[in-house]
Structure formats: C-alpha cells, structure tokens
Amino acid sequence: MPFVTAGYPDIETTGAILSGLDPSWADIIELGIPFSDPIADGPIIAASMHEALQTGVRPGHVFELVRSIRADIPQGLVAMVSTSIVERSGAVGFIEEAARAGFDGLIIPDVDLDRVDEILPTIDAHEMAFSLLVAPSTTDARLESILPRCRGFIYMLARAGLTGIRSELPDISPQVERIRRLTDLPIAVGFGISSAEHVSTVLAHADAAIVGSAIVRSMGTSDDPAAAALDTIRALSSGRPPTA
C-alpha cells in the first residue's frame, strides 16, 4: 500500500502517480493530506507536507483531483488526514466531502478514540473504510475498544515512533497474532517499512505493507518525481508474493 503526500511537489504529480500505478503493484493507495504540524511524521514526510502547503495545496484541491480521476483508477483510495483538518469544518462535513470526492476510506491517526462513535455513522452511511492505529504499546483492553471501531482494515504500527526510513524491521509477528485473535479484518503494517525485502517480510505475517517515506524520498531527489515514485513503488511491489 503506497503512501504519497497529496500535492507534493504539486497536485499534477499526484495525479500522474495515481493514473500511472499498475494495478498489480498495489490494491490500495494512501494519499496524505498535507498538514502544517504533523506530529507522527518524521522529517521526510513532514518536509513534503510543508512543501505542498507552500505551493498552496489545500484539502479542496485534493478532493478536486480525486473527483476528476476517480473513475479511471481501479485501486482503492484512502486519505490519511489529521484530526485538526477533519475537525475544522465539522467532522461529518469533511467525511461526506471525502466520500463524495471518491475516497474509499479514511485514516485519522490522531483522532480521540472516545469521539470515534460520533463519526462512525457517517463513515458507515458512505460504506467507507476507517482505520484506527494499533501501536506495540496498545494494551489488550484498549485493543478491544479499537478493533470493533475499524472498518476495512487495521493499521498496525510496526514500531513506536515516527514515519521514516529504517534499515531494520522489528519482529511484527507477535503483534499481528495478537490482533488476529480479535478481528477478521485485514491488517496493514506501516511506519519504517522501507524496502522490497521489508515488504516481503511483512507480508509473510500481515495482509498489507504501507510504505511512505521511501517513496516520498525518491521523489525529492528526482527531476521527474512522478516517474521516481512509480519506479519506487514498482520496485517495492517485487516484495509481494507472486499470487497477490
């Protein structure tokens, strides 16, 4: 599951990536809506968000883009968006707009779990996916309130800490097992997944691997960021088992 920052370095690049993705590389694409103060993001994604904001990219532009190309994209499209943006105009309004634009799901990494029940009816009315995060430190008791509130897939953090590029992948299997015992939903693993080898290891246990910083970094060092992103995503997808 590739993650790209929407509007980085500009909205056209995001459009080119979305339309250029081969369906065999990924089933779902995650678009990060740029936010001025991303707390959970490491330097690579944080910088890409700041750059996107500087060029004037707003959530409205992202919705517009998705609306214009949604029909041509076979993959699922999920938005990763900060609570600050969702809550600004009223969460219900934001979710409805995202659904109308053609997003299939939302990840709100910093939502207050106690407020989730207020937005789930809207999520369900639009049959959207909704993924809450599960961290290694999440207690079993809390897991039992998180999992029933997820729709579509579970977002499991591979580690404590921030998004970013890491050479090592922690052993995720105990975490995956713990979650599997309590839910039938597929489990996507993210944070620090950086190479095809990581993807392959993750997929031996979980159902999807989320890669962000490695893709965004490859864009930052290229003259043709869309092509660079597509190259990186293709290379990462070689970590998927042939049957997938």
Binding site: A40, S84, E87, R88, S89, D114
Partner: protein
C-alpha cells in the same frame, strides 16, 4: 463497550479537551494519569510536594500592594501576586516540581520539555537537576535569539537545548519537536508540558500543580484587605499562570476574572496571538480547544513580542471558561505591553517578564474603570531579567 465507558469524562471541559494523539502516546498518557491518581491519594506525595514548594521554591510568594501603580491607574487598589519571586523567577517551577515527582514515581529517567520564553525550560532543567533526571529542552531558534540568557541558564543547569528550525521557529514548533521526540522515546521519557495545554491529563494536571497560586491569593487577600478581590488579571499564553490563579475563584461570582492575550501588532491574522479573542474551535497539540487556524485547519502564523505568549493555541479549560462567559479575555498590543514593562519597573521597582507586562497593561486599563475602594490582583507571573536584552533592542539604551 459503550462510549460512556471509554470516554475520559475527566479530560473534558464542556466541548473542549480530550486526547487527540497518535496511538503510540496513549499508553504513556494512561500511565501518567494512573501515577497521578495514585500520587493524589498518597499523603506522602502531598507532603513532599508542599515542602518542596516551601523550602525549595520559596512559597508562599507574597501579595504586594502597588501604591504608585494604583495612583497612576486612578481607580482600584492594585495588588501584585509575586510569582516573580518564586525560584527561577516565574510560576513555571510549581508545575515542573510536581511533574518531576511524577516522573520519579513512574520510574522514568529522562525528561523532555518545550519552551518559548525559556522560563519553562529553566524550571524543568532546575527540577531535573534537583532530582537527578536527564533533561532535554526544545526551543525555536527565534526564541533562542530573543531569550538567550535563559538558554545559557538551562545549559548551566545541565540540560541539553535542542534548537528547532521548523516553521516559525517559535513555541508551536518547539512543541511539535518535543511531541515527536516523545513518540520515539516514550518508554523511558516523560514529557513535562509547560502549560495547561496538550492531551488529557496534562491540562488538569498542570492546572492542579499551579492552583497553589490561587489558594495563596485567597488567604492573602483576606489577610490584607479582609475580603476577596473584585478582579484578578493574568496573562494567557497556554494559560497556566492564569488557570493557576483563576481556578480557586471560578465559583466566586463576585470575583471578575480577566485573561490578557497577546495583541501583537494588531487584529489582522498573523499579527497577533490572541487565540480566544479571535480564534475558533479546533484541534492543536492533542486537545480540542479554541485555536488560530485557517479555514482548512492549518495552524496560523502568530506574532507577539513575548516568546511565552507567541502561540496559536490555548488550554481547553480556558476555551470552556470563555464560551461560558466566566472569564473575560482581552488583547493587549506589543506596544502597550512594552509601555507597561517600563511602567511597573519605574513605579514599583519590579521589572516584569514581557509576558507578565501584558497582564500589567490590561490591569491598569481595568483598574482605571473601578472604584478606589475596590481591589484588583495582578498575577505577576514572572520577572523580566530574561527580557532585559530584548527590551534594550526594542527600547534603545534609555539614555
């Protein structure tokens, strides 16, 4: 599980508060809440905290009559609650001593903090030195420039100062950096937040540790003039000194409470940091409150001559007091604050922090509209030594 069972009722002030943080931090917040609940029911904790406030911080801080400022304002009697006389020169130490004790209870060895004016950084470094804890402080590069004396003090106290070059290079960005570091170190590190902001339980925790200011003020007013004051005025950055002095009086309808925000250069967006005066509901740094954001939810740029007030958010309990109408929040401009900085120095021999000077300016305006038999208390949240250099840059050499 129903919502009622999972909701942290304690973390909400009306529609404000909560815990809007990535999942990685939730267990640490639960642990903090638990450690604090245990501490509250442990008489030893209360005893240790109180004796540290007395013997180390130097509490109670005095309530000082300000006769010449009273004369100048031409109305109510003005009194100064002297937090500037607390150890390290501001109210911030009340909170850092309390949280350092909790850090020790939780068995953590490392502390991080954000700071704007540097007073919270100094107070954290001080508490960490006292308890033998490792300390790292995050501070925006613009604040490092304008509060350089405090940077040196933190280093003397054994803290590492991490200079933050993101965004506006001020308090908001230092808070982001501290939160990001906490995400990566949460098993071993406690984050001592410096104001009544952030995710639950911080707003309640910090207000509780600061509430000693209000309790002392109540007794001292009765000792000094035989009744409760008619008004209390405090500056509001994140809102900790204000919450500390207001909270004991929230139930006293006869006591008017006034919070003074940074009016900066004026009311245009980007020129001020008057969050409650100009802001709207939103989420920033882990809680729902009133914030300065653009219509999409991006944090606005703010301005104040005072590093400690130069922040686009405010504690959720203040947002609640604001919508309830219990506290009256107003803005004072940079120029009015700088004038008040000079005024209090010349008339009362107290050089206030630039943050505090906002409260002085607001108080002089308010006192002038009151009767001579009324009483107004200013929370003199900190002293201005740290601002001497920046004031000289703004004022010239006064020759």
């Amino acid at each position: 599980m129903t919502m009622k069972e999972t909701r942290h009722i304690d973390g909400w002030f009306g529609e404000f508060g909560g815990r809007y943080v990535p999942e990685t931090l939730v267990t640490a917040l639960d642990q903090l809440e638990e450690a604090w609940a245990e501490a509250k029911s442990d008489p030893e904790f209360e005893l240790e905290f109180t004796s540290l406030l007395r013997d180390y911080v130097g509490r109670a801080t005095p309530l000082t009559h300000a006769p010449r400022l009273t004369e100048h304002a031409g109305g109510a009697n003005i009194w100064l609650k002297r937090e500037d006389l607390a150890h390290t020169g501001a109210h911030k130490i009340n909170n850092t001593i309390g949280q350092a004790l909790l850090t020790r209870r939780m068995g953590k060895q490392r502390v991080i903090a954000e700071t704007g004016a540097g007073q919270h950084g100094v107070a954290t470094a001080t508490a960490c030195a006292r308890f033998g804890l490792e300390c790292e402080v995050y501070m925006g590069s613009e604040d490092v420039r304008r509060q350089s004396l405090n940077v040196f003090r933190m280093k003397l106290l054994g803290a590492k100062v991490n200079v933050v070059e993101d965004g506006s290079c001020t308090l908001k960005d230092a808070t982001n950096a501290a939160m990001r570091n906490w995400m990566e170190t949460v098993d071993t590190t406690h984050y001592i937040i410096g104001s009544v902001v952030g995710p639950h339980p911080f707003p309640t925790l910090v207000r509780t540790f600061q509430s000693v200011i209000g309790r002392e003020t109540r007794t001292q007013c009765i000792d000094c003039f035989g009744r409760l004051p008619d008004r209390i005025v405090a500056c509001v950055g994140g809102g900790s000194n204000a919450a500390g002095i207001f909270s004991d009086f929230i139930g006293d309808a006869g006591v008017g409470l006034i919070g003074i925000e940074a009016g900066g250069r004026g009311a245009r967006p980007g020129d001020h940091a008057s969050t409650l005066v100009h802001g709207e509901p939103g989420v920033l740094h882990g809680s729902r409150s009133i914030v300065l954001q653009d219509p999409d939810g991006q944090t606005s740029t703010v301005h104040s001559c005072s590093a400690g007030l130069d922040y686009p958010g405010v504690g959720p309990e203040h947002a609640h007091w604001h919508v309830e109408g219990r506290v009256d929040y107003r803005a004072v401009t940079d120029q009015e604050a700088i004038d008040a900085f000079c005024l209090l120095s010349e008339l009362e021999g107290c050089i206030p922090a630039l943050e505090t000077a906002h409260a002085v300016a607001g108080a002089v305006q308010e006192a002038g509209t009151m009767h001579r038999d009324q009483h107004l208390v200013i929370n003199l949240s900190g002293r201005g030594d740290k601002d001497a250099e920046e004031a000289r840059r703004l004022l010239g050499d006064l020759d």
